[in-house]
């Protein structure tokens, strides 16, 4: 088709263009909300940005908030790449945190070794939690991974709450929390109060994942299966095995995030330890288009919204909920990206002349072909 060139141009830019557009739209609508509720919209957005990036400590806080989102987001991206949806990353995050905490306080090891042991334990536990159960169920029994991961997520969270509230991981004393991990298992703090070396874990994870996705044979299989399982079967790929692996690796990353958070920031686990990273990470992965670099950037954005939102309250008296509104709007516009693309395709691009079908524009409409 002769229209290849302009389409190509969109294809190349589109990957960055649409997420950025989503964010900008969210900020614009967020400003309107701010204006309508009596704030100076520019000032509000300014306060948000200043709160997130205004000085080195704030940047550190933003990055610190982004660490768990990056790592869990990478995990969610793995399953999206494979055409699966791991909605239970929250529970896997819990499992990882529980395992890391346990190894962190119950075992004594030399410093660096101790940290590695915590990470390893977290990754194994959460990898099994996600890969072995939902992965095997999906691959060999066809059980929908959305359901299984979500249900196991609840199991994980309640298990965790039981363990620290009245179970064996409850610290001596009255408060429902685990003991503090040993200093040998604590990640070094780079910038006070809580920007830890966990950032290196996140960056290494992103780099490794990028290589796996776009350079390794495994990633090639994963992406093929995610986009076209039929073609993957023709190519002799084992779809079932990749499903198990994808969910397993996804869980390992969620677990790693839980461990990094315990070792770097919280140092113990308690009932309100969960902050819904497992859920936010889904939005992070979507906004980052399941590309590790995109995920890192999207996580920083969401981290900035939290940090900026907090600082906005303190320094400008602006309500933190406004940051939540913007966050919600970003998620909305990311989800609405399909709509934006549709509009864009409808009005600015030549429709592909009389040729192949363009699928999935309006699922409710009966396709004429076949």
């Amino acid at each position: 088709m002769s229209a290849g060139t302009p389409v190509r141009r969109w294809g190349a830019i589109g990957g960055v263009f649409f997420p950025v557009l989503s964010v900008l739209l969210a900020l614009v609508v967020g400003s309107i909300v701010a204006a309508a509720t009596g704030y100076n919209p520019l000032g509000t957005i300014g306060a948000l940005v200043d709160g997130a990036f205004g000085d080195p400590t704030r940047i550190a806080a933003t990055l610190s908030a982004a660490i768990p989102l990056m790592i869990v987001g990478l995990g969610v991206a793995v399953t999206f790449q494979a055409g699966l949806f791991n909605i239970g990353a929250e529970g896997q995050y819990w499992i990882g945190a529980l395992a890391a905490t346990y190894v962190g306080y119950a075992i004594s090891l030399p410093p660096i070794l101790h940290i590695l042991a915590c990470f390893l334990a977290a990754m194994i536990a959460a990898g099994i939690w996600a890969g072995l159960i939902p992965g095997l169920a999906k691959a060999y029994r066809g059980a929908n991974e959305v359901i299984t991961t979500m249900m196991l997520s609840y199991v994980a969270i309640y298990l965790g709450q039981y363990l620290v509230e009245s179970g064996p991981m409850k610290a001596p004393g009255t408060l429902p929390q685990s003991p503090i991990i040993a200093p040998s298992a604590t990640l070094p703090i780079l910038v006070q109060p809580q920007f830890s070396a966990g950032i290196f874990v996140a960056i290494v994870a992103a780099a490794v994942l990028w290589w796996l996705f776009y350079r390794s044979s495994w990633g090639y299989q994963l992406r093929t299966i995610g986009r076209n399982p039929v073609a993957a079967r023709y190519a002799g790929m084992s779809v079932a095995r990749q499903y198990v692996l994808a969910l397993g690796v996804s869980g390992m990353l969620a677990g790693l995030a839980g461990a990094a958070q315990i070792l770097g920031v919280q140092h113990r686990i308690y009932d309100s330890f969960s902050s819904g990273y497992g859920y936010t990470a889904i939005a992070v992965a979507l906004l980052g288009r399941n590309n590790p670099i995109g995920v890192v950037l999207a996580a920083i954005l969401f981290g900035a919204l939290t940090t900026g939102g907090q600082m906005m309250q303190i320094n400008a008296g602006v309500d933190a909920q406004l940051a939540n509104v913007i966050e919600g709007l970003i998620v909305f516009f990311v989800a609405a990206e399909a709509i934006i693309r549709w509009i864009q395709g409808r009005f600015h691009l030549p429709r592909r002349a009389s040729g192949r079908p363009q699928h999935a524009e309006t699922p409710a409409v009966v396709e004429g072909e076949r």
């Binding site: 088709m1 002769s2 229209a3 290849g4 060139t5 302009p6 389409v7 190509r8 294809g11 290589w211 776009y214 350079r215 390794s216 044979s217 090639y220 299989q221 992406r223 093929t224 986009r227 076209n228 039929v230 073609a231 079967r233 023709y234 190519a235 002799g236 790929m237 691009l349 030549p350 429709r351 592909r352 002349a353 009389s354 040729g355 192949r356 079908p357 309006t362 409710a364 409409v365 009966v366 396709e367 004429g368 072909e369 076949r370």
Partner: protein, 508 residues
């Protein structure tokens, strides 16, 4: 008298001149076909006429009056109705509801009974045979198309645009459509018939306008035109419509299928006790009406569907229990039936699509991962050999035209120099030029002493290419006949189970 004239229509898109001073006229009660390959500008022209695009230059004259159409509503108001290739119907709603949709007298309610009555009488008037109460999803494709036609007449169309109307139809349904079109023209309706199929255009149209690269090359009377003439105009060079197949001695048996039984994905057995051989330097065609086990057979040979009984030998070696990848390595190439959903990954680059069966090949995936430059060089080389355009290995495969997509698949499979190529519907939906190319490639494999198993629903294709033809009916191989002497009628008899299989015709 002309009901419609398009004068010098020009439409540009960034980087593309989709219509270049196209002129076109349509007389009352006439069928005027627009013929052209994919991307020739046919749809753009119709979208201009339907008000979806504003032309950059030129004018639209309806019944002698120049008009400006700023949207489909305008077009409809001027009596233009369009039936798109992909129907705009809502499956869960009834015929009446679908027809009314968008044309309700008030936003909230309408006279259902009145509407139904009108639809019934329109259906009778134009011999459409549509039940206004039927649910769309319960109707076969041919009837859904007539609902679309009714929709146009309900809005009082007297010019009907049919965009590739036979693409989704069975031959039977196409015939019915043609007789409907004849009824319409008798009643003064004018029809614009868009297609890339030569024979049907010659069959139904009064006049034919051939478009190529956005230009109206010629307008001919269908009575005087020959297929060769039209094909040459469409492609812009002399096209070989009927490929030359030099006689050739077949070599040793490369594929041997013995008492094969295959169950479909639903577990129901679809292939029963099928045995045949394909020899080196031979094209073995499998004819049959859709749904008689051809594609289960193809998938079983490719190793995608498990074999439930029987034996498969490739060059004398048992491959029955080999996986798809092992069979590919052993020398089986496979062109699946549906290229966009099975053969390609449309948002992967062309390079990545070339790697589909190479994910264990150390030439491309080294210890440091994908060797991008090696892979791209390989892709580019193959793209040149198979003339894939545009020649950009990083372009997503989904952005290629159908013909170029099929070339990529062909290139991928052929470049692995297979002993046996299984080609399932290799030319489905392709235009003349691309079909010619695919056919030449299959013949080239034959010449090179490879075996080709061609599965096609197009009898002409089977007859043109095959050295021997097997007919599948109800999952059984009911006949194997030599390609030279086979006739349409003979095969048609076997395909519909009308002629009992002759014992001596079945080659084990």
């Amino acid at each position: 008298m002309n009901v419609l004239e398009l004068k010098g229509i020009t439409k540009r898109f960034p980087g593309v001149l989709a219509n270049d001073h196209v002129s076109f006229e349509l007389a009352e009660g006439e069928v005027h076909a627009i013929l052209g390959e994919n991307g020739a500008g046919k749809s753009t022209l119709m979208n201009v006429l339907y008000g979806l695009y504003e032309p950059d230059e030129g004018e639209i004259v309806l019944n002698g009056t120049p008009v400006r159409l700023s949207g489909p509503r305008d077009a409809i108001a001027h009596g233009i109705g369009m039936v798109h290739q992909h129907f705009m119907l809502i499956g869960a709603m009834t015929v009446t509801e679908n027809i009314i949709l968008g044309d309700e007298p008030t936003p909230v309610w309408y006279h259902r009974r009145e509407a139904e009555e009108r639809i019934r009488s329109l259906s009778e008037q134009y011999h459409l045979g549509v039940d206004p109460h039927a649910r769309i999803e319960s109707l076969p494709v041919g009837l859904q198309q007539r609902v679309e036609i009714l929709k146009a007449f309900y809005r009082q169309a007297h010019i009907l645009i049919l965009d590739e109307p036979t693409a989704a139809l069975t031959p039977q349904e196409s015939e019915e459509l043609f007789s409907i079109i004849r009824h319409l023209t008798q009643q003064g309706i004018s029809v614009i018939f868009i297609s890339h199929k030569l024979d049907e255009v010659l069959q139904i149209a009064d006049r034919v306008t051939v478009m190529r690269r956005g230009v109206a090359e010629a307008t001919l009377s269908a009575r005087d035109a020959t297929p060769q003439q039209l094909a040459n105009l469409m492609v812009g060079r002399d096209v070989v419509l009927r490929v030359e197949k030099p006689p050739q001695e077949a070599g040793e048996v490369l594929l041997s299928v013995r008492h094969l039984q295959v169950a479909g994905r639903d577990g129901v057995e679809r292939v029963h006790d099928v045995s045949f051989n394909v020899r080196a330097g031979e094209i073995f065609g499998i004819a049959g009406v859709e749904g008689n086990g051809q594609f289960e057979l193809a998938e079983a040979l490719a190793g995608v569907l498990p074999v439930s009984g029987g034996q498969l030998l490739l060059a004398g070696k048992a491959i029955t229990s080999m996986s798809a990848l092992e069979r590919a390595r052993a020398g089986i190439g496979y062109i699946p039936e549906d290229r966009s959903t099975e053969g390609l990954i449309s948002d992967f680059s062309i390079t990545d699509n070339f790697l589909l069966k190479e994910w264990q090949n150390p030439r491309f995936f080294g210890p440091l991962g994908l060797r991008r430059s090696v892979a791209e060089a390989y892709a580019l080389e193959e793209m040149e050999a198979f003339d894939v355009r545009p020649r950009d290995p990083r372009l997503p495969a989904g952005h290629l035209s159908g013909g170029n997509q099929q070339k990529v698949i062909l290139a991928r499979e052929v470049s692995r120099s297979p002993q046996l190529l299984i080609a399932a519907q290799p030319t489905r939906g392709l235009d003349v030029g691309a079909i010619e190319f695919v056919h030449q490639q299959l013949l080239r494999l034959r010449e090179a002493g490879r075996a080709v198993l061609l599965i096609s629903l197009e009898l002409d294709e089977i007859l043109t290419l095959s050295d021997r033809i097997g007919v599948l009916y109800g999952g059984r191989l009911v006949a194997v006949v030599p390609g030279e002497t086979a006739t349409r009628e003979q095969l048609g008899g076997y395909m519909t189970g009308a002629t009992p299989a002759q014992e001596e015709g079945v080659v084990p």
